[in-house]
Symmetry: C2
Subunit: 120 residues, 2 copies
DNA sequence: CGAAAATGCAACCAAACGGTTGCATGACTC
DNA sequence: GAGTCATGCAACCGTTTGGTTGCATTTTCG
């Protein structure tokens, strides 16, 4: 190891709120899926056929992406006749947003502590 | 297609700010990497050996994750003697945070429009 | 100098991912 | 009832990903 202060453990010992955000970030970490989320977020509920139009990929590919988003809790489907409409589900994204806020805040506090130590 | 209003195009025509956030989300979409970010964010700069200790994966695996994070601009390395210290780089994460804010805001506005239409 | 510590580099591997094609099914519409 | 529109399901495929092992390189320290 190193002569400097021990960093201690961190393995799976992380914040459960943060761990919960992992699949959400993973779902958003794809350009197609992120644009699907943005689309559903702006408009209302759209069908698979509607979401596929304007894309250069197959309907089945879009379906797969929607399932990934649904698994992450970012999107919800509503059966309506022969169509299946998909709509945005804001709660998980809100949680992810708070996770980023928490990390940023942690960073700010670290900077403050550093500054205080320097001025001391 | 569908008898309802056309959803128009959206293919690669999305917000460049949003598109820029994709690799950041992809980098955060892994439990190991997210905890690395959280660690570096809380403390200062840490070496690979320090970051590996407390993890159940290999040093080389950690190195790869650090490279992914660096590629996404979330982390920066500083050579120091025989060590290589890694530190958090807040700007990209800040941008990603604003992207989520933008999406959430878009959703809120859509809800407001819907409400206004109902009350009209 | 020589050993040990911290890292770099490259090959390799299984599993997951993003995407496709082909075909079956369910639900309107005439 | 027949056709068609919107989906579902499953197999398949190339590439990326997350991880490993083995060995070379650089730097510190006695």
């Amino acid at each position: 190891m190193s002569p400097r202060t021990s960093p201690a453990c961190h393995a799976g010992t992380q914040d459960p709120l943060l761990r919960k955000a992992v699949p959400v970030f993973a779902a958003l970490g794809d350009e197609t899926r992120l644009s699907l989320v943005a689309l559903l977020c702006a408009g209302g509920a759209l069908s698979i056929a509607q979401l596929t139009a304007g894309t250069d990929i197959t309907r089945q590919a879009v379906t797969k992406h929607l399932h990934v988003l649904a698994e992450a809790g970012l999107v919800r489907d509503v059966r309506q006749g022969r169509e299946r409409l998909w709509e945005f589900e804001p709660s998980r994204l809100e949680e992810a947003r708070r996770s980023l806020d928490a990390i940023a805040q942690q960073w700010d506090q670290a900077l403050l502590r550093l500054k205080a130590r320097l001025e001391q």
